[in-house]
């Protein structure tokens, strides 16, 4: 039953009629951005926390949706529901939290699935390449439209952490605190390599049609499945995967003493079954062009590039206080990458705290319920944010 403690957000949309110039030099003439809000904006608008999402998420950060009968929709919890809500580390009794959807997404904001207002054709592959900086610019425009000048905090994990970091560089006077979780100052070659494999899986799907699959009434689901499977492997740790699945067989064959069915095509191991299931689920709801755009934005992000690779110089414009969190078993966004950011912030004598959580779950830990992780974020918001 919905109660006072149950967040039941309603997705909203903001239309922007002004042309947006993108980092690539291309532009978008008009666009919509989806967002959700939680909690109450205070009188002087000083309690705003902006949440930036990661690769496959959306503006639906916390709470559950209600159906027509007013009942909570099953499994409709926001992706950071452990973190954000009444009494949670980012307490919506205190803060006005905005979950924002990136431009180019497939969750309501203008993206490749929408029609280009100039041509009335679905964008598909013609949707311009967007960057983390572009997303932050759009978020700033959304705040302008909402009449919000400054953020008490901007927060995100993974790709969302990159957006939070970028906020402190693009709009240093508009951000008081940045919480950057399981993130990095740029992707390593290995990370770009994983993204490239995922992209190749998508673009080589026979149903991809150079990104204009919509015009052919098909979807490159096979490619998306494989992209998701690759991604999923890298978000977990070897230990967690072993603990969860080990070498368990899905079905034990009675024909062979080994229990194997001696097939290269069928699912033998539980982990295969799990990955295929995850891939199938993902291919049902995610758009292939959006996946390509977002992984590319990840590849491009590198605030130090304009400073000859000197991250300390790149971050010298930042004014915010920072909390960084990493997880010891996260090998895609390893603690060493967070420490690079921390070092650059220390070099600039900024206020920064850094928690390195010894969690077993790999990159996905940033979405999970770990008391040390949630505790340190809670403490940061209670002691620093809004002071």
């Amino acid at each position: 039953m919905p109660s006072d403690l149950l967040l039941t957000p309603t997705p909203q949309s903001m239309h922007f009629a002004n042309e947006l110039l993108l980092q690539s030099g291309k532009s978008i003439r008009a666009y919509d951005i989806s967002y959700e809000t939680y909690g109450e904006l205070n009188a002087d608008k000083s309690n705003v926390v902006l949440i930036c999402h990661a690769l496959n998420a959306s503006h639906h950060v916390a709470g559950v949706y209600l159906d027509a009968a007013g009942q909570p929709v099953k499994k409709s919890e926001g992706w950071w529901d452990t973190m954000i809500g009444p009494g949670k580390p980012v307490d919506t009794n205190r803060f006005f939290v905005i979950g924002v959807n990136i431009l180019g997404s497939c969750f309501g904001s203008t993206g490749p699935m929408q029609a280009n207002p100039d041509t009335q054709q679905i964008y598909g592959a013609d949707f311009p390449v967007v960057t983390v900086q572009d997303w932050v610019n759009v978020q700033a425009l959304l705040l302008d439209a909402l009449g919000i000048e400054t953020l008490a905090a901007v927060m995100g994990g993974s790709l969302g952490g990159m957006q939070a970091l970028s906020w402190t560089l693009q709009y240093p006077d508009r951000v008081r605190h940045a919480v950057v979780v399981a993130s990095a100052p740029n992707l390593t070659a290995e990370n770009i390599a994983f993204n490239e494999v995922a992209r190749r899986a998508i673009v080589t799907d026979p149903d991809f049609h150079a990104g204009h699959y919509g015009r052919h009434n098909v979807l490159p689901k096979r490619g998306l499945r494989i992209a998701r499977m690759i991604g999923h492997i890298t978000y977990l740790s070897n230990d967690v995967m072993n603990e969860k699945f080990g070498r368990q067989l899905r079905e034990i064959s009675s024909e062979h003493a080994s229990g194997y069915r001696f097939s290269t095509q069928e699912i033998e191991f539980q982990i295969e079954s799990y990955l295929r299931h995850q891939g199938d689920k993902f291919a049902e709801y995610f758009d292939a062009n959006t996946y390509l755009l977002i992984t590319r934005a990840l590849d491009y992000f590198d605030p130090a590039a304009a400073f000859g690779g000197d991250l300390s110089r790149a971050l010298s414009v930042a004014k915010a206080g920072f909390l960084l969190v990493s997880f010891t078993t996260d090998w895609r966004f390893a603690p060493a990458r967070s420490r690079e950011i921390v070092k650059a912030l220390i070099d600039n004598q900024l206020d920064v705290s850094y928690a390195e959580i010894d969690a077993p779950h790999g990159h996905d830990a940033f979405l999970l319920d770990d008391t040390r992780y949630l505790g340190v974020v809670r403490s940061y918001f209670e002691s620093k944010v809004l002071l």
Partner: protein, 209 residues
């Protein structure tokens, strides 16, 4: 939630008498790095009472959270992995209060302290304090208020004395600016190696000639 990690706002107790004595050694307005800062008590005191700024370094989850809850900047790092995060001479004072005795790389950390800070302040339990000597004379390792562990399960993997530290400082070309013993917050300058539970050293790296 696990109560150990529940974020209740921590009271701000005055540091113990020894900590207050050490705090007096830190010049007003210094930029401070506190290695093994625990719950951030001393750093919070230096920030609030002496206009200092800086960071703590801690390894324990609960202590890191306690520091954050106090509003003290803290880095969760293992000191045995060095101080790569901090640039040369980037702090006025580097503190190692009751930290040295837990470190595997105590000597390297001492050099790192001299590299990162313009001044280092080290405090550790003085093993040469007379009750300890008495215990050893009786043939047993001491168990005291400041060294409250049995020899087989102590986290204090290094035990040393004022004289030992002087030798180590000399060996690493550290220039000792001041040293004394601490006994319940009082400075002990007469026979400190015998008469004080705690050793305190103020030092800096060898200045170029």
């Amino acid at each position: 939630m696990n109560s150990q990690f529940e974020a209740t706002p921590l009271p701000l107790p005055l540091p113990s008498a020894d900590l207050l004595s050490i705090a007096r050694l830190v010049p007003q307005g210094s930029r401070v790095l506190d290695l093994g800062c625990g719950t951030g008590e001393l750093l919070a005191y230096l920030i609030n009472q002496r206009g200092c700024s800086g960071y703590g370094v801690e390894i324990s989850d609960a202590n890191v959270q306690a520091c954050v809850a106090r509003g003290v900047n803290v880095m969760q790092l293992n000191l045995d992995e060095g101080l790569a995060l901090f640039a040369d001479n980037s702090f006025d004072v580097v503190l190692q209060i009751d930290t040295l005795q837990h470190l595997r790389n105590a000597e390297i950390m001492l050099r790192e302290t001299a590299r990162v800070g313009r001044m280092g302040i080290v405090a550790f339990p003085n093993f040469a304090h007379w009750p300890n000597r008495l215990a050893v004379l009786r043939g047993r390792m001491p168990v005291t208020k400041i060294l409250p562990y049995q020899w087989y399960d102590t986290p204090n993997i290094r035990v040393g004395t004022l004289r030992d530290f002087e030798a180590l400082a000399l060996q690493n070309q550290l220039h000792i600016l001041d040293s004394f013993g601490l006994q319940d917050g009082r400075e002990v300058r007469f026979w400190p190696n015998l008469r004080a539970t705690r050793a305190v050293f103020k030092f800096q790296g060898q200045l170029p000639l």
